[in-house]
């Protein structure tokens, strides 16, 4: 296989792995939020705010990985 092909493969796998990680993280986050607001509906608003912030931070890390993959793919 050509080195260039390997690079494209790496970019694809990298993007996919980053998404798997983010999906797992946000999934766990959503689970915990649902459980917390189910147990104590009166704090649902606060919990949702914290969830959105954490989800955005996880998403940020994932987007760094995706940017690296895009750079790898277009070089």
């Amino acid at each position: 296989m050509l080195p260039q092909g390997l690079a494209y493969l790496a970019a694809g796998f990298g993007a996919a792995l980053a998404v798997v990680g983010a999906a797992f993280g946000i999934g766990k986050l959503a689970t915990a939020t649902m459980e917390a607001s189910g147990r104590q509906p009166e704090i649902a608003g606060d919990v949702r705010t914290s969830m959105i912030i954490s989800a955005a931070l996880i998403e940020g890390v994932t987007l760094f990985a995706e940017v690296i993959c895009i750079i790898l793919a277009i070089k």
């Binding site: 705010t49 912030i53 931070l57 987007l63 760094f64 895009i70």
Partner: protein, 296 residues
């Protein structure tokens, strides 16, 4: 540049498989004529008004400034950026004027007032606290401007200003200046940078902590940039890919499914536009809070 390259690599398979559509692409294509997806996603000097043709925007010779060559010509994204700024300014000033005359809010005043109270009580209060209320005008401007930019992209023939990485970088740069300015204004220049390293850590950790925290200052606006840009571009790519499936399979039978999914994504785009404006605002507010409360 970035959206063009992104679009090119994600969708090379589509443009290669749709020569029929390629013929319909505008004549000013640069890469062989079959990159209609990139034409749509990237910035250009023409304003397309699809059934009626296109307007060529005026171009000016590049300006030389500090050794850099800067092209200050009008582009598609810039026009809609100005349009968004115009809409936000005009609408909010008119609504605010009316608010001064009658104290009981009516109509649109209610909508805007709900957003303002939400930003104050649900975004600023938990993240910055009472002293953050002085950032309310800035955060409200950011929220309404990004919201308008995001939603402009959903109007046919319009481009998404926030789908251009330069626009989101500019917004994040403004946020960066406000965040650092808030911290420096409260603690002083030396005090602010000393406060980046929390007190009480072992001496040999301090250099590492200082470097990490200093890099952290710049990754925050970078994350804001990429998040907004990626979210706004991804939705458009998905809609385009779904519509592109019709040309890929070269049959009309796929059309109902494609259109249904594209419509679903379109409605999701409306939601994402609002959520991303909210996330940009709350994260800016959170970072202001982190800069202002160094004891955490």
């Amino acid at each position: 540049m970035a959206p063009a390259l992104l679009g090119h690599h994600v969708l090379a398979f589509l443009s290669a498989a749709s020569p029929g559509q390629a013929a319909a692409a505008p004549a000013h294509s640069t890469e062989g004529g079959n990159n209609w997806m990139i034409e749509y996603l990237s910035d250009s000097h023409t304003l397309e008004i699809q059934p009626f043709g296109a307007i060529n925007l005026p171009q000016f010779p590049p300006v030389r400034f500090l050794g850099m060559t800067i092209d200050l010509s009008l582009t598609k994204d810039l026009v809609f950026l100005w349009l968004a700024a115009f809409i936000v300014t005009l609408a909010l000033i008119l609504i605010a004027r009316r608010n001064q005359r009658n104290l009981v809010p009516r109509g649109w005043q209610n909508v805007i007032e709900v957003v303002i109270v939400f930003v104050r009580d649900e975004i600023i209060m938990p993240t910055v606290g009472r002293e953050g209320v002085k950032f309310l005008p800035f955060l409200l401007t950011v929220f309404f401007f990004i919201l308008t930019c995001n939603l402009l992209g959903l109007v046919p023939n319009f481009s998404t200003p926030t789908g251009n990485i330069n626009v989101t970088a500019g917004l994040a740069l403004i946020a960066f200046i406000v965040i650092q300015g808030a911290g420096i204004a409260k603690y002083g220049l030396a005090g602010y940078f000393r406060g980046l390293v929390p007190p009480g850590v072992p001496v040999f950790v301090i250099p590492v902590m200082a470097v990490v925290e200093f890099i952290g200052l710049f990754t925050k606006p970078f994350a804001l940039t990429v998040r907004l840009f990626a979210n706004m571009t991804a939705g458009h790519i998905v809609i385009f890919s779904l519509v592109g499936l019709i040309f890929l399979f070269k049959t009309v039978a796929v059309a109902p499914v494609s259109i249904a999914f594209a419509l679903f994504i379109y409605f999701m785009e409306i939601m994402i536009g609002v959520i991303q404006a909210y996330i940009f605002t709350i994260l800016t507010s959170l970072f202001i809070g982190l800069a202002v409360h160094q004891e955490h």
